[in-house]
Symmetry: C2
């Protein structure tokens, strides 16, 4: 099945909002084995929307629209689709009752224009909006399928997962099964090079790589008659990838590095403290995004200045003078000082040159030392991180999380 996604909204054409709906739908549809061949965005304008619908119909079997289902005069997606397909709009009684209830429950005043939302094209399957007021709909006209969902991302996702996904699965003769592997310590292009023969020959399962700072993931998607076959196909590919790049894989369930680390800490009841210089709280604040992490996270001492390193962590002035703030010796004294004062099970220190200034030939921008004390062992690693200030700080926080992950394995 070939699909076009049409986003309706002048605010997207103005660049006022990022079109995340299209990203979300594209991933989901590809995962269902549907080919997304076109994305369109048009403003709240009947003529241009009509033209776009006609063009999309000429190219695709499935046309999905988001946006323009609300109560105001600007919202005209439904009206335009009905007009293009020669369908009348009819009041949908269950949606009308839902709307009345909604306004009653919230003690809000319902304006007359709110009723506009519950007029839907004749013959359509109505999609309840469990996260808002505007219903969506599905229309099957001579084998072309139209699906209209609201624009707010939470409402769209709610409707897609609640109703549309199952509808589309029902249209497919196949089961689609996906697994996402997460990698750390290997760049996207190196990963692609290592898997290029698999990627080039992919048809089923398909293999797609995704990258963000420091992390790469690979999604393997198989299409088969039943789940057992699909799982077998996926597992065969995973085995081959693991064979080639196993040392870089840290997760098989699409979990972020910080999630994996938080889970391990909570599961093993490990108390943890940090002494951060160049990352200045990034590591602790990432970890603190996990609810309940206060059971493990004791403190982080951000010692940006030399004075702070001396006063807070007992780093020796002589060490700072002889080796500098960014050195193995300083990282080591920082983590030992931290351990001494906190007694946390796991202590970690970071010192580095984030740039753009402060680098030299001997100590270039991106030079980072990470010290760790755990289970009576002291480790100190040296890294050279590539990139600008923001990347150096972010990637360093990932390196630290990865070191923690490894000792907790």
């Amino acid at each position: 099945m070939n699909c076009s996604i049409i986003s309706v909204g002048t605010e997207i054409l103005f660049g006022q909002i990022v079109n995340t709906n299209t990203v979300y739908l594209s991933k989901e549809l590809n995962g269902l084995g549907i080919n997304v061949y076109h994305h369109f965005t048009v403003g709240d304008n009947t003529k241009r929307l009509e033209e776009t619908l006609l063009y999309a119909m000429s190219k695709s079997d499935l046309i999905i629209t988001t946006g323009g289902l609300g109560p105001t005069q600007d919202d005209l997606t439904k009206e335009t689709i009905a007009q293009v397909l020669g369908k009348k709009l009819e009041i949908h009684k269950p949606s009308q009752s839902r709307l009345y209830n909604f306004f009653e429950c919230c003690n809000k005043t319902m304006h007359e224009n709110n009723l506009k939302q519950v007029y839907l094209p004749k013959d359509s399957i109505v999609l309840t909006n469990d996260c808002g007021t505007a219903p969506g709909f599905i229309l099957d006209v001579d084998g072309k399928i139209f699906i209209s969902m609201p624009g707010p991302p939470n409402e769209m996702k709610c409707m897609f997962n609640g109703y549309v996904k199952d509808f589309l699965k029902g249209k497919s003769q196949h089961i689609i099964h996906s697994k996402v592997l997460r990698f750390f310590g290997i760049g996207e292009s190196a990963l692609e090079t290592a898997l290029i023969d698999l990627i080039d020959n992919q048809t089923n399962p398909t293999i797609a790589t995704y990258a963000k700072i420091g992390e790469v993931s690979v999604r393997i998607t198989a299409k088969a008659e039943n789940i057992e076959k699909a799982e077998k196909m996926t597992n065969d590919v995973i085995a081959e990838i693991k064979n080639r790049l196993g040392q870089y894989i840290y997760n098989y369930a699409d979990e972020e590095l910080v999630e994996v680390v938080s889970k391990k800490l909570l599961e093993k009841e490990v108390s943890i403290s940090f002494a951060e210089s160049c990352t200045a709280g990034l590591i602790a604040s990432k970890l603190a995004a996990t609810p309940g992490i206060s059971k493990c996270l004791d403190r982080s001492i951000i010692t940006y200045s030399n004075d702070a390193k001396i006063e807070e962590l007992g780093v020796k002035e002589a060490t700072l003078q002889k080796y500098g703030a960014v050195s193995e010796e300083t990282a080591r004294e920082m983590v030992l000082g931290l351990r001494n004062k906190t007694k946390s099970d796991l202590c970690l220190s970071v010192t580095g040159i984030a740039g753009p200034g402060g680098g030299s030939k001997e100590k270039p921008v991106g030079l980072v030392y990470i010290g760790m004390v755990y289970d009576k062992k002291v480790i100190c690693n040296k890294y050279n991180v590539f990139g600008d200030r923001s990347r150096v700080r972010n990637y360093t926080s990932m390196l630290a999380l990865n070191m923690i992950r490894k000792v907790l394995e």
Copy 2:
């Protein structure tokens, strides 16, 4: 001038990347007084790209493409545009020399397919890529303008700002002048309500609002024959907005809150330290994104546990027991303890309930206390922040930055 933006790349149709190029270009083009009426995305497929180009040409005077200018076989934007317009591709000597130099300087091996990048449509204005290797181009064919830029956002922005923006300005009879006001402490809908009459009646200058967590900005764009007139028009609107909402405006030059605070600290040479609990390093790490801030930022003590609050900041155990970790008394003792140990000019403490757990009727999720010592004064503010864990932590860091901004004014 009416414009279509075409994004070329199968990775966008797969939902593998968010299309930020279109957002950026839409904002910029609207700022230049150009009407963006369509966004299209197509994959790396000659037939579909050709059809999309023809359709866009039938609707617009200006067609901008991003992506598909690279060295691989997948990259076919240039070839397809040339074919649609009946133009031959010719080698562009200056770009060829640039490419050879690039590979020589980096000690990289140049593969034969890299040369593909320097073949450009006959009669085009070549756009140097100052941030990468693939040049772009402008073609003016019978009054229709085609502009092709590379897909990587940094290269596209670099080319747009370096060459394309001036070219487009030259096509306009008008001067376009924009100013962006930044607000803190007011939501987007409240702001819109306060300005609704101005927004509804806008034609010239135009008024657009943008929102992200905790911050709202308003862009005012005027079109006039000369800069004096455009500035006068913009200033008149700004005066009216200031009249209505002046207390929420923190900046007239589109600068983020953290930028404004960093500049003030550096300018006034104020040393600063933090004691963070629920934000767990977010405030310090945001500030540390500014190069050179080590002149001001001394340290941040992230005291997540009660033990840490007692040991690091001298908070009294009795205070924690009587009033709780999230209380005005604790925030006050935290900041006084911090001041006592650091002697920093400005000391700030944060304690709050980020959620989802830990809330009660008396102390709900989102309750936050921020303490500050500056210029011999102690301030302690109480806030109730709305939202989930991530929003509470982020918004709290913004509240803290805003308190700093105010005392440094």
